[in-house]
């Protein structure tokens, strides 16, 4: 597909926007990948965590910005640990299909709760006004760079670096990696299951809240299906990249965000009606050639070798 796009039409502007989108999707991919690593659970309701954070920002938009962001983090972390306690923990030993369908039910539930709260004033959608100034653009070398894009890139870089340090240099990080490799053996060797899971869920909640802030700045009108589409795209990216390992999942998330950004920016709108078909056909092709993921090496324990 990318061959069909004249290269000249990809300008610096498109590139910057695509980088920003890729960075946001990479953060979401890490959030999904962390929980998958320790629980073998694909959390479809991840987007609803982001949505809850976005609503918190919208409903607190007359607060000082910092207080509003703190509230957003608090709500997302609370909701996420509730999910873990009430749903993920009892289902830990169930098949991946049951866990995935349960997170659908959760997503459905959270979306309808949001709708119920949102509809009290008889309109769908709440505007988050206070953090909108971050969406203004500054001109760097002839390219309009929105402040939030810079913030996104910096935040994504810092968050990923911090995470890499945590996973690589601390005891809990070692435990998490061990649990992701082989949960049962790790437990036998003294890794505390609940602690590892709570940490992974907490980290993924922090990332969801960060994504909520970034997305709300870019799209200030918050609706119940906020971030739903993004979650689906990220999930596809994560599996195409290789969900079995965190960095391939992250790379998959980044790649699909970057690719969407480039394609959206480079193609005129009237040519993009069949674009989803082409993209998803490519996804199928990649999965057929490399079922364990584009960036995964060799075989994977997740894919039955039959």
């Amino acid at each position: 597909m990318s061959l069909a796009i004249p290269l000249a039409s990809i300008d610096a502007q498109t590139l910057v926007d695509a980088l920003g989108l890729g960075a946001v999707y990479a953060l979401m991919a890490v959030g999904i990948g962390l929980v998958f690593g320790v629980l073998r659970l694909v959390n479809f309701a991840y987007g609803q965590l982001v949505m809850a954070g976005a609503y918190t920002l919208a409903y607190t938009s007359d607060w000082p910005i910092v207080a509003s962001i703190v509230a957003c983090f608090a709500v997302v972390i609370m909701l996420s640990s509730l999910m873990e306690r009430l749903v993920f923990r009892p289902l830990r030993t169930q098949s991946p299909a049951v866990m995935l369908v349960t997170t659908f039910a959760l997503a459905f539930l959270l979306q309808n709760i949001a709708l119920l709260i949102d509809l009290r004033d008889n309109t769908i959608g709440e505007a988050a006004a206070s953090i909108a100034p971050l969406n203004r653009a500054i001109v760097i070398g002839g390219v309009d760079v929105r402040k939030i894009t810079i913030v996104t890139l910096i935040v994504a870089f810092c968050a990923l670096t911090a995470l890499a340090l945590l996973l690589g240099r601390t005891t809990i990080g070692l435990h998490m990696r061990a649990a992701a490799t082989d949960f049962r053996t790790a437990r036998m060797l003294g890794v505390r299951a609940d602690r590892v899971i709570s940490t992974a869920v907490l980290l993924s909640a922090l990332l969801a809240a960060t994504v909520a802030v970034i997305l709300t700045v870019q799209f200030p009108l918050v609706t119940p299906d906020f971030a739903l589409r993004d979650t689906i795209v990220v999930l596809v990216g994560v599996v195409v990249g290789g969900i079995d390992r965190l960095w391939t999942a992250t790379l998959g998330g980044f790649a699909i965000g970057f690719a969407s950004g480039i394609i959206n920016g480079a193609l005129p709108t009237e040519n993009t009606v069949y674009l989803p078909s082409v993209l998803f056909a490519l996804v199928i092709l990649v999965l057929l050639i490399r079922p364990a993921g584009l960036f995964a090496r060799g075989g994977s324990s997740l894919v039955e070798r039959v």
């Binding site: 289902l91 991946p96 459905f108 539930l109 969900i243 989803p276 079922p291 070798r305 039959v306």
Partner: protein, 338 residues
């Protein structure tokens, strides 16, 4: 109990449930009648999805794309000729200038669903696990995208209206029974048993000479045909339909019904569909303030929240489903058995 008697009990349980639901239509008012009919169509859809997902153990998000294809095939082909060229001017001439009856349109829907499943299944059935899930999801996205944009085969992004509303209590009941009987015949057959063996242990099944890819493909095609048929029933129930009606929400709801009932048994699929639809109906009545003994007046929208809570709670408390994934069997009394 003989093998045949046991099989009869296993088939009779879901069929009886459906017949009782169909009979309830006669007793109900018009509003409830539509809800009962849609519950019966849900039974067809969930059982169609069960034929593949339940028997193979491979999660597929793609079956609703065959429901969509069936619905639009059956709908487009039954709109009366005199109004068709007016509402769908851009159709291919062969679709625009022909109209078929209700029953042939259901058969055609099944045929289209099965053919599409064959086409998609040949490459895709090599995948399993999450890769299969995402690839079948990609199929759903592609189908939705094509149906939404290609106005030569359907209404595009607008509503497909003027479809004759022929799915009555008799058709919905007979349709659901037909789908159940087909699913039952398949799961007891050689093909079905081989597919269920690949679900329990793919490596062992391959070891005794079962071609996993081929068995999954048969299940997928039968499921696709039944899904297409269910789509036909759906469009003739609603009378008008958009591509959004047969997309993500229906996919999630159908899979949730299947898992709530118990995804590895036919009885589970039927119970799940009827139970979730039934709860939904009850809640929507509670929302309208029609009380059972006393008046409960819930704010609108509560229904879906309550439905979500119930589904999540059932999945957490009983992950194997209401039926535990088993068919019904009568208790046996044998000496020496506890």
């Amino acid at each position: 109990m003989s093998r045949h008697a046991r099989a009869l009990v296993q088939l009779a349980a879901p069929v009886l449930l459906v017949i009782l639901t169909g009979l309830a239509c006669g007793l109900a008012g018009r509003a409830t009648e539509i809800e009962i009919l849609s519950a019966l169509v849900s039974v067809s859809t969930v059982v169609a999805v069960y034929v593949f997902v339940g028997n193979s153990g491979v999660l597929s998000f793609g079956q609703i794309s065959f429901v969509a294809l069936g619905a639009f095939t059956s709908g487009v082909m039954t709109i009366p000729l005199d109004s068709k060229a007016g509402v769908l001017p851009q159709l291919f001439p062969i679709l625009r200038d022909h109209t078929i009856g209700n029953v042939p349109s259901l058969a055609l829907a099944a045929l289209v669903g099965g053919a599409a499943a064959l086409l998609v299944g040949i490459p895709l059935m090599r995948l399993s696990g999450l890769a299969a899930g995402i690839a079948t999801f990609a199929v759903l996205e592609i189908t939705h995208n094509l149906l939404r944009e290609w106005t030569a085969i359907g209404p595009g992004a607008t509503t497909l209206a003027l479809v004759p509303e022929t799915t009555d209590a008799l058709q919905a009941t007979l349709g659901a029974i037909g789908v159940i009987v087909a699913a039952f015949a398949y799961q007891g057959s050689r093909l079905g048993r081989k597919l269920r063996a690949t679900r329990e242990d793919p490596a062992a099944a391959a070891g005794v000479g079962i071609n996993v890819h081929r068995e999954r493909l048969w299940g997928f095609v039968l499921s696709g045909a039944l899904s297409g048929f269910a789509g036909g029933l759906l469009v003739h129930l609603l009378g008008s339909i958009t591509t959004e009606d047969v997309y993500l929400e229906l996919t999630f709801l159908t899979l949730a019904m299947l898992v709530v009932g118990g995804s590895t048994s036919l009885l589970g699929a039927v119970v799940g569909a009827l139970l979730v639809s039934g709860i939904d109906t009850l809640l929507s009545h509670a929302e309208d303030g029609i009380g059972i003994g006393f008046t409960v007046n819930l704010p609108s929208g509560t229904r879906l929240v309550a439905l979500g809570v119930l589904m999540a709670a059932m999945l957490v408390l009983r992950p194997t489903g209401v039926t535990g994934g088993r068919e019904l069997s009568l208790p046996t009394w044998r000496k020496g058995e506890a």
